[in-house]
Symmetry: C2
Subunit: 335 residues, 2 copies
């Protein structure tokens, strides 16, 4: 698989004809046909077949066409981005959990880039289970989320940067809203409204379930934590929320805190990076900055929104891409 082959196939898929693709690329027909033949061998898939005048992509061909477009787009972007980077700002790659992405990242990164000169941030959203690999593979310089667990933390350093409290919330008219000291088991029958990360064991909700041996039969995931809280306010169920993000709703009584025993749950978020000797100057700066009162201030200020122009900056945010980390497998990838 080469870039030229992908380019040829992508063009064929786009134009729906080998002949047209050859013309468009300025080469002969067999050149294109040969490139496609090579891909066919590689993938063991016909990719497309002739069908009444035009061509019809096979399922595999459709996937490859999609991937090829993406890869070529990325390659072209890389070209631009590298050449534009001559003497430009250093790139600091940060990975965060979905919760942090929504609830504290925008203001704190805003403050950071305002404070530190010559840094450009790239933020990606990943499940915390991937964090150790991201650091080790140098795909991220800093990760923000729960502390790296046990053996995964080898060679890394974590500093806590924010303490937060989790409470169970529901609509004010909820049957448990006026009760005191409620046993966690009473929540068993509830419908749980969770964020985009779901309720897996690596999430705060999952940990809460595990701790209290809850196994709710109804869990509904929302594309954002704000949407989950909103649904809770609408009476659709209960949610585990970070206190300072729902202060307003509690005050306005559109949400009520359920007084579950064992809550509020206190937790810490950590900033992690590789060891001091394997860490860029920018990573140092972020680790220093994120523990300052200024950063804490920014995170606790009720946000949820960012200025329009800044939000539209070309920050690449990938949600739940089922992204396999690249391993050293030249032969397979390249073949």
């Amino acid at each position: 698989m080469t870039f030229a082959q992908l380019q040829a196939f992508a063009t064929v898929a786009r134009l729906g004809s080998v002949k047209a693709a050859a013309r468009s690329l300025g080469v002969s027909e067999p050149a294109v046909s040969g490139a496609v033949a090579a891909l066919r061998r590689d993938f063991g898939d016909e990719l497309f077949e002739r069908r009444d005048g035009g061509i019809a992509l096979t399922p595999g061909g459709a996937r490859l066409a999609s991937a090829a477009s993406e890869i070529l787009g990325l390659a072209a972007r890389a070209q631009r981005s590298v050449t534009e980077a001559q003497g430009a700002a250093a790139l600091l790659r940060v990975a965060v959990t979905p919760a942090i992405s929504e609830q504290v990242a925008p203001p704190v990164f805003d403050a950071f880039t305002g404070r530190v000169q010559n840094v450009e941030l790239s933020v990606e959203v990943h499940p915390s289970t991937a964090f150790a690999g991201l650091l080790e593979d140098r795909i991220a310089d800093v990760v923000l989320g729960p502390r790296l667990s046990g053996d995964a933390s080898f060679g890394t350093e974590s500093v806590p940067f924010l303490r937060y409290r989790l409470v169970v919330v529901a609509r004010s008219s909820h049957r448990l809203a006026r009760r005191r000291e409620i046993a966690p088991a009473e929540l068993a029958g509830e419908r749980w409204l969770v964020g985009p990360a779901g309720a897996g064991p690596e999430t705060a909700v999952g940990a809460f379930f595990e701790r209290h041996r809850l196994a709710p039969d109804e869990v509904k995931a929302f594309p954002t934590y704000a949407a989950a809280a909103r649904a809770a306010a609408a009476g659709e169920g209960v949610a585990l929320a970070i206190t300072h993000t729902v202060l307003d709703d509690l005050k306005r009584a559109s949400l009520a805190r359920l007084d579950i025993r064992g809550t509020p749950v206190e937790r810490l978020w950590y900033a992690s990076a590789l060891g001091p000797d394997r860490r860029s100057a920018q990573a140092w700066a972020l680790l220093r900055f994120i523990t300052t009162p200024e950063a804490t201030q920014a995170m606790l200020a009720r946000s949820g929104g960012v200025p329009a122009d800044r939000f539209r900056s070309p920050v690449y945010v990938t949600l739940w891409s089922s992204h396999r980390l690249p391993r050293a497998r030249t032969k397979e990838v390249q073949s």
Copy 2:
């Protein structure tokens, strides 16, 4: 630029040493060094330099390392995805606007995949300005959003699938909440809360501004439309909202509709695809389905959330990637 070269460089960046990378890849040091040298020539960037024992990436090198990881990951995923697709479901690639993505896509796609066998959906979020190119380049089979404009619609077919109304909303205690027949100009001084698409001319908000010659000096963008509505309920400003998504808030009076002259604004969303002869069977199916009462029903049902397991399915969602569409430029990309 070849995959092998990218692999070599990514490994060097990851391990912080040419020697270690060579060992890891199972080749000699000059092999790795040579691959990096080729990239250096291509990009005209040093990529990294020796720095006290290890190496330090240049800004360009950091960008390339990041891009290389992504490209290799994508390539590996493509391998898997194509080989897994043997006799599998056909892939239907749909592009939607941010608004549709949040407010109608989940239930309708849910209903569609439940109805139509043997289809796998891939949904990407793009600004509607990119739609014509996505169809023409066969990156998307169907796009959902505003009608394709004038010359961009050549060779395509659009069918309207949902009529919706936009109203201006604010907190119930807003100074304009009890007024009638308000002149749009009175909104000039307000702070506008908009969705992730911002307030560009291609958005509904932007069109509203233009129509009434409003040029608000304060526009705040939120990562979701739900968050913007929530902020409006908190009194942070006014928002343009789709009526059926805020029915609950209006009923509970946590939001009030402002009776601006010219509102409600009626608009239509269209499903567009290439002409009938250049369209896959799956695209046909979606275009047919999306105009059925069943689909309309699904879209209007108040949602905002999707079942947990389905949401975690490997649907690739890209938000505001500043993704350049690939053009036929073999020489440059491949060099």
